[in-house]
């Protein structure tokens, strides 16, 4: 029996039984935007950037199993506009001041905004007050940029076996918490070589003293756009 396929923007994509739309598309060299999804972890489904349209419904491609014959719309004006609005929401909810961010040029949020040609955050800014945590000798936490993808939470729990991070609060007051009564990273067992130290797609978890080792202009997304970098063949580069 031949492998089942679905249509992604009119082109056939093969998939294995149980595979999610996003995974199958990636395996076929087709990019669907994502921020909270990561190949090492089960789907999370919080960022919603991987939204696609299937049979009139908007669903998360990372968490929706592929079905034979399904028609999936992804790179369309309607869906990209929806994604751009989601990006705008992420930009206004935190404090994303790219010119002063060490992650600029290596940041997936920024690169996706470039990819989707987001030129304005459009909404009113929340300007939240989120102090940074510089207590750890090797790693800085800048909560201003958190997008709640929980990749650090998951990596610390599942790969490092530590649970250094967790989410607390609710709704717009949600925030990243650190596993110490003091709330300080220095008082946890976090280490700079933890998986969780290297998984942040934005500029929250930053290794100290190497922020500008690679000059602006020569960074990951200066060299190639996110939709190329994010595909499996180049995954190791990031």
């Amino acid at each position: 029996m031949s492998q089942p396929t679905f249509l992604l923007d009119g082109q056939s994509v093969p998939f294995d039984d149980g595979q999610m739309i996003l995974e199958a598309a990636r395996a076929a060299g087709r990019y669907i935007p994502h921020l909270c999804w990561h190949p090492d972890f089960p789907p999370h489904g919080s960022c919603k950037l991987c939204v696609v349209k299937v049979a009139g419904r908007h669903v998360s491609a990372c968490a929706t199993p592929a079905r034979a014959g399904a028609e999936v719309e992804s790179d369309t004006p309607e869906i990209n506009t929806e994604r751009r609005t989601l990006l705008q929401m992420l930009f206004v909810e935190g404090n994303h001041f790219c010119p002063a961010c060490e992650k600029s040029g290596d940041c997936q949020l920024q690169a996706m905004a470039y990819d989707l040609e987001m030129t304005t955050p459009r909404f009113r800014h929340f300007f939240p007050d989120r102090p940074v945590d510089a207590s750890h000798p090797e790693v800085l936490l800048d909560f201003n940029r958190c997008i709640y993808c929980e990749l650090c939470v998951r990596a610390s729990r599942e790969q490092d076996g530590k649970a250094v991070f967790a989410l607390t609060g609710r709704g717009i007051n949600k925030k990243l918490a650190v596993n110490a009564e003091s709330g300080r990273l220095a008082d946890t067992d976090f280490a700079a070589n933890d998986k969780a130290a290297h998984i942040c797609p934005v500029g929250v978890i930053l290794k100290k003293r190497v922020g500008f080792a690679v000059p602006i202009g020569e960074r990951t997304y200066d060299r190639a756009p996110l939709h190329e970098v994010a595909l499996p063949k180049l995954e190791g580069d990031t």
Partner: protein, 601 residues
Amino acid sequence: MALGAWNARVDDVLKRFGGRPEHLLQMLIALQETENWLPPEALTALASALKLPRARVEGVVGFYSFLHAQPVGQYRLLFSDNIIDRMLGSEALMARLCHSLWLAPGQVSEDGLVSVDVTSCTGLGDQGPAMLVNGRAIAALNEDRIDIICELIRQKLALDAWPAELFELENTIHQRDALLSCAAQPGDALQAAIAMGRDAWLSQVQVSRLRGRGGAGFTTAVKWLACRDAPATEKIVVCNADEGEPGTFKDRVLLNAHADLVFEGMTLAAWAVGARRGFLYLRGEYLNLRPALEATLARRRAEGWLGASIGGAAGFDFDIEIHLGAGAYVCGEETALLESLEGKRGTPRIRPPFPVTHGYLGLPTVVNNVETLAKCCLIALNGGAAFAATGTAQSAGTKLLSVSGDCERPGIYEFPFGVTVRQVLDACGATDTLAVQVGGAAGITLAPYEFGRRVAFEDVPTAGAFMVFNDTRDMFEVAHNFVRFFAHESCGFCTPCRVGTSLLAGTLDKLAEGKGSPADLLEIEDLDRLLKQASHCGLGSAAPNPVIDGLQKFRPAYERHLMHADFSPAFDLDGALRRARQITGRDDAGAHLPQQPEASR
């Protein structure tokens, strides 16, 4: 309290709950009883005793409105802030109380004695305005009651010594049909179902065409079948009594007046699917129902309707545990409820898999609404066909409606499905009705031309809330109240709901302050669309409903709040200069800004 004292307290709580992490939420609720809040050292002590990461415990505390990581008053007063309570004068009563006790909402009094704030609908719309005092509900608030409460607080009288009549709640039942007039004795329905055998009993549920009364209307028998057939040795039955939808209170009345029907329904579900454990997830707001519910459970155990070999059927073992919620509307969503039952933050899960195959702790689980389970007793007693004989083609049986707002007789009305909105309005004595909100904040706003529509899954579906607004009400204010509710209750998991509900609430705030512009109406429509399409769960996708309906059916109420300009800032321009005026001591013309450019005003 010193750390040592907290350790001792934690040991007590651990003993009570067996130290299982899935009881974390229950343990936190119990631990909070001593000081009314959970200081950092208490969380550290509990986390280390449970061998859980402290951040996980902190994360759970941060999720639930009724758990406090910051000090609150010894007396913590929360006014129900649903639009119905407001219409009944809750704001003026809160102002009176704050004035009398010399404090502002959101503040703790300097002596730490009292704090006052608002909370989401407490499920007492039939006898509001209502408040919670340290979690215990007081209804029918008026100036006299407020003054009595202030005096009791000043006297520092323990809550248990407060006059009992303050805490009395009415079962305002105005119209009874099959369910509310059911005279069966405890065990009658179970005996009938046991006599049928498990399979025949499930077939009767199929024949009844019973659908979930929580709002979604999923066919109960399909759920039960899937759970029964799921490969696992242990199955779970959960009764969803997290009745948080603003304007709903029928589950409160059922649990208060007909608890046996509810527990018997859970046991009937267990008989059908082969479950041995059941949970009643009771919303924190209904704390004062708990003692009576525990007593009913104890009696049913003594009578042999819970426990081992129920009704003499060998191998039919089932018992029920009550879990409390702690102020999180989203936990009414069944997968969020399961997370909460497991002692976690109430974040809705990705589906599939569905709870019927992967529910509580990964076990096959049926989650049913209070009313749905009570209705199962009728099916067992009278047969599925008799049940299906009332109602409409797609909506068998009767429906309990929680009627509140502008009418003479707010309360519970049981009607066969298919009843028109007009008939309900007539029954409750509503006149000059401008609109009816059916299904709560997440429901549908009906204008008079729609009062001929029928309450049924195929027309106007509802979990039972029926809020009436007469022609003196501003439907913008109604939607504004609902949207703020959703922003407050969003779990914050997905981007569109976390940010979108706050943006939407902010834009409606702007309109409410009279600073709106036509551009804002466009933005509202844009946000509505995104919330509806991209949200992770029903909370986000329902959040814009009141505004979508409002803009369609009551647009002038919105337009009234606009300035005549194509754009106006959301923030108060002159207010933004206040601090600088203060520090410079200036008040000249240049120290002020008009909200609109001079020419366009």
